[in-house]
């Protein structure tokens, strides 16, 4: 059985598309946010109760919503919806890139990482277009191939996958790479209220620190390829422990 969630909401075109592909491989249950949850990262709802709602199925797939975050959806699906442990957690297809550092802000990947933390093979899928009417058919073959292979072979312990697709085309192929180094700049548009008080709205451009590096996701996405980055939720920089010991004298 395959659990599917996302961060755009239970009724987004991306999740319907993913559920359609996944249904070729067995029973699918969708448990996804009631409302859009973009940029929610691994946030969870600690200070309010959560409600489950049942919705019209997508094909054969049962559909539920949770009035919380993508991580809430995975946790509550395991607690209150599924009668057994799923073989796979899928998240997406997200309408918007989750390449490079976007992984840490992404609700799509928050959900995939949650599946991974509890030991279930998990994959997040995203396409580089915020247009919810974008044609998603170019993703079908690669998604089916990844689902098939992950169901068959599993994933390394403590690792999930972050898959991104170029927009508006069938990808040239798939590259397994690392996240490009970079950060967001020019991050807010500035406004003034009718009374002259400032306020701010998030915007920004991604600044890629290594645009010419073929080891990175952004490089291949810009060239029409899909990318897969293996993601480890545990963020310990094990290679830095020795240096920190020396520096802090501990």
């Amino acid at each position: 059985m395959i659990l599917i969630t996302n961060d755009d909401g239970y009724n987004s075109p991306g999740i319907a598309h993913l559920a359609g592909i996944a249904s070729r491989f067995g029973e699918v249950v969708v448990v996804a946010p009631l409302t859009p949850q973009s940029g929610k990262s691994s946030a969870l709802t600690v200070d309010a109760p959560l409600k489950l709602r049942s919705h019209a199925p997508i094909g054969e797939a049962a559909v539920y919503s949770v009035d919380g975050t993508p991580v809430d959806c995975v946790k509550l699906a395991l607690h209150a919806v599924l009668d057994r442990r799923p073989d796979l957690v899928l998240s997406g297809i997200n309408h918007g890139s989750n390449a490079a550092i976007n992984n840490i802000y992404s609700g799509t990947m928050g959900a995939a990482m949650e599946g991974c933390v509890v030991g279930i093979p998990s994959v997040g899928f995203s396409i580089l277009s915020h247009d919810t009417s974008a044609d998603l058919s170019g993703t079908d073959d690669l998604i089916a191939d990844i689902i098939s292979k992950v169901l068959d072979r599993g994933l390394p312990e403590g690792v999930c996958l972050n898959v991104n697709f170029p927009a508006g085309r069938r990808p040239e192929g798939l590259k397994a790479v690392r996240a490009a180094a970079g950060y967001w700049t020019e991050e807010y548009k500035d406004y003034a209220s009718p009374h002259g008080a400032p306020f701010y709205w998030l915007t920004g451009k991604f600044h890629n620190l290594e645009p010419d590096c073929p080891e990175t996701d952004e490089y291949w996405l810009a060239r029409g390829w899909a990318t897969v980055v293996p993601i480890r939720p545990d963020q310990t920089a094990t290679d830095a422990i020795g240096g920190i010991k020396t520096m802090l004298g501990c």
Copy 2:
């Protein structure tokens, strides 16, 4: 200049305590959430404007709030509050553990990672007590020592620090370690509405998969030590790329 934020809100005892210690090292500016933001991870506010408010100073430190998440606070501080790039971003002192896998759910560490992503040495501090009246004085010497050394020597590129303190005591000392492997179990309390409809509230217990391993944070925290885990916001599992290439044939 030192930027301080947190996830418990601009008026929490933990942030006042941290600002007091940091003020020994120069100018401090506090830009923290208007309301509690526990469990907000690296979430950011994409669908609403943000307002800055000015509050009474903490000692000499100017204090602002943002009606958003911890990551919003760091981003908006850099965009609209600070007149220059800070030498250090500190987050905390969080009232509650951020050891082990809690790093990925933590708003405290979301803020510290945000400072790191834009290249500023950044440290998150947490204490293993949710009691906001807990005595924090046992943390003073180690926090001052860490601030002093990080200001002096910086941190490895792409790495920030996650520091946790045992509750109610002066720690035995500091251990640089990795995050313990584990996950949360028994995660919801189940309720029924007056009309019989189920709802759920997050709770749970942390299940430590390696309680006897002295390489981990949980091991030393349980024995009265403070811990520091170097954290890499980039979650690429670089050691897994080769295996994924083979598995997916790409």
